[in-house]
Amino acid sequence: MRHLISILLENEAGALARISGLFSARGYNIESLTVAPTEDPSMSRMTIVSIGSDDVIEQITKQLNKLIDVIKVVDLSEAAHVERELMLIKVRAVGKDREEMKRMADIFRGNIIDVTDSTYLVELTGDSVKLDAFIGAIDNDLILETVRTGVCGVGRGDRILKA
């Protein structure tokens, strides 16, 4: 099962290494990892997407909680939550493809944020499935570069992760 694990941690040198080291040392899987400071610069918020059985995810959250730099851990996928990912995708846009690419970007509610004679840079946000769908919908040969941020997520409504 795919899980979205949200972590509040001390914004300290080495904290990221402790978490990534834990995953590699114990053989846990990381699909994506995003991290940045919160409104309180002494803390960072991290979102990890991992795939594992319930037992493995339980161990992951316990092991994360054991790290001294980790303030709180929550498995967002246990309840209602929102998740988003940002993708910057550079595509070839010449001839008839130029028109087609503009249309596809519109359909997926993407923004074209850079234009040259032969390329578009499309900015797209959504859940990972939507970004995958965009990649699937355009001609693969036209893709020049893909950059994805990885998923970040937050619980809905009153589900708040605070120190």
Binding site: G14, R18, D55, Q59, K62, N65, I68, D69, V70, I71
Partner: protein, 569 residues
């Protein structure tokens, strides 16, 4: 008061009432060693290899319940210490390691004796710090001591760049420290404890399985009280030996790969298992699927939530400090005025007595050749069970665990989790510093002892009267045993050729050496060592049966009831 960083380190350690630092100087810690020289509150024990410093600090802690402290220089000082740190980490030993580091402005430039200490040690410490500003030094050391001994204990490393040693700042050692991201559990959940009491009282075949957590939390007395109230059998893990008196009639001995027949059979037949401060290690429960195939209810008490439901499914998890959990368990049990149903309990004890009749630790005594088990039995007799016994890793370790009956906690020091050869002798040193009046024996083998034999020099310098009991069978015995059992007698690299003359070697270091070749000489030699040479290090080189194997044995990947007993062969 404005002090230099080096002064601050020493002042902090004094504030923590540190008696001994085990260490080895080098370039990046010279400022600190200079301050050490100028004071006389803390004694420094100069070892001959950094690994030994860490093991000695570790055993100092294990045998005293104080935090072990060691100091090493940057680069190779740290890398040599890593085995010791990992040993302490696996067995949850509270320790603070101060390491030197290249000056802050040179970090990352491949400076002389620079290494990424925080990176290298990260997976084998409870936590570590690189201090970059002298103003953070005191509070970091305070945090290190707090983290090391609270919650599930473990080693904490503080990496101090050389330039901090001369940087100055106002010194103020905090009385206490709080860390918002670190709040170890204390009290157990009362509702869960109530469930546990109910389960235990309804049990037909209850068993207590107690591990190293009992030793670490100083709760041997509480465990004993609980076991006596319930009148149920108790088995200890390798790390838990001494947590419940070995000579108590309710004790089934050690369980696991080389556990007694009765302990392993009880584990597989119990209907309610109370696991306390133990972690269902692979060497303890055998194959997890086989273990899980037996229907039983498991109550698991541990301070570390990640130890619970890691390897086995648990019915009643209780997270908390064993002191508080056991107190409440005992109180609730008393309040309930309940008893385990006497008839069921009597029948359970009858089963156990049946298994005990197998006498699974019996061995064939030779007239000409010394059996290693016999040496341990005699060691127990000669020391009246009052010695602290350290061991290395291998057959001798298992024999020491099986045949020396530990009635008290903190008497048995071994590398249970990591299985570090070379632990025994430096551990014996640490134990003597913490317990100067207690006889200390290091049970070892001719393979293990050579992994830190240089420490005989430290023992000479500090007059440490370790009694080295070397069970010399000319083989890496446990490797040879596995090769005999699972690799068609192909003894690949397990014969130890070109052994030194241990007697002369001991003498060369300025100690007493003896070689013992006959069973009849075992006891007199031990008496001579422990009585006549009470205040000296004695190297007792026992030439033992090279074919002796450790039994019972549960082969790797087998279930606990599939034990191979000595009599089956």
């Amino acid at each position: 008061m404005v002090l230099t960083g080096a002064e601050i380190v020493i002042r902090c350690l004094q504030e923590e009432k540190v008696e001994y630092i085990f260490g080895y100087p080098g370039g990046s810690v010279l400022h600190i060693y200079d301050e050490l020289f100028k004071q006389d509150k803390i004694k420094h024990i100069l070892v001959r290899h950094e690994q030994a410093a860490v093991h000695a600090a570790d055993a100092y802690s294990r045998s005293s319940h104080k935090v072990g402290v060691c100091m090493v220089t940057s680069g190779p000082g740290v890398t040599n210490a890593v085995t010791g740190i990992a040993t302490a980490y696996t067995d949850s030993i509270p320790m603070v390691v101060i390491s030197g580091q290249a000056p802050t402005h040179m970090i990352g430039q491949d400076a002389f004796q620079e290494c990424d200490t925080v990176g290298i040690t990260r997976p084998c410490v409870k936590h570590n710090f690189l201090v970059k500003d002298v103003k953070d030094l005191a509070v970091t050391i305070k945090k290190a001591f707090y983290i090391a001994q609270s919650g599930r204990p473990g080693p904490v490393l503080v990496d101090v760049p050389k330039d901090l040693g001369v940087d100055k700042c106002e010194f103020d050692y905090p009385k206490s420290v709080t860390i918002r991201s670190y709040n170890p559990a204390t009290k157990g959940h009362s509702g869960q404890i109530k469930k546990a009491v109910q389960l235990l009282l309804e049990a037909k075949r209850p068993l207590i399985y107690a591990g190293g957590g009992i030793i670490l939390s100083n709760t041997a007395d509480r465990l004993t009280k609980l076991a006596h109230m319930l009148e149920v059998p108790v088995t200890n893990t390798l790390m838990g030996l001494g947590g419940f008196p070995a000579t108590d009639k309710q004790n089934l001995g050690m369980l696991g790969m080389h556990g007694t027949y009765e302990a392993n059979m009880a584990m597989q037949h119990a209907d309610v298992l109370l696991a306390i401060g133990a972690r269902f290690d692979d060497r303890v429960i055998g194959h997890p699927e086989d273990f899980a195939s037996v229907p039983r209810k498991i109550i698991h008490v541990d301070i570390d939530p990640s130890s619970i439901a890691k390897r086995v499914k648990v019915d009643v998890p209780i997270v908390g400090n064993l002191n508080e959990v056991l107190d409440e368990l005992i109180a609730q049990l008393k309040a309930s005025e309940g008893k385990v149903e006497p008839k069921a309990l009597a029948s359970w004890w009858k089963d156990i007595d049946g298994w005990r009749k197998k006498d699974s630790l019996k061995y064939k005594m030779g007239k000409e050749i010394i059996m290693p088990q016999y040496v341990i039995e005699k060691l127990y007799e000669v020391t009246g069970g009052e010695a602290i016994v350290t061991s290395d890793v291998g057959q001798h370790q298992m024999w020491a665990a099986q045949y020396y009956k530990f009635d008290k906690p903190r008497r048995w020091l071994n590398s249970g989790g990591l299985g570090t050869m070379g632990y025994g002798l430096p551990a014996a040193m640490g134990a003597i510093f913490a317990n100067p009046k207690t006889p200390v024996a290091c049970v070892t083998g001719e393979g293990s002892i050579q992994m830190n034999i240089q420490e005989m020099s430290t023992c000479k310098q500090f007059r440490l009267p370790v009694k080295i009991v070397n069970l010399n069978n000319r083989y890496l015995g446990m490797v040879r045993q596995w090769q005999e059992m699972f690799y068609g007698n192909r003894y690949s690299e397990s014969y130890v050729d070109a052994l030194p003359d241990f007697v002369k070697l001991a003498e060369a270091y300025g100690h007493v050496g003896m070689q013992i070749t006959k069973p009849a000489d075992v006891e007199p030699a031990l008496r001579e060592a422990f009585v006549k040479h009470k205040n000296e290090l004695v190297f007792l080189d026992f030439l033992t049966d090279p074919t002796a194997n450790v039994y019972p044995m549960v082969a790797n990947g087998k279930g606990l009831s599939e034990m191979v007993l000595a009599e089956d062969l």
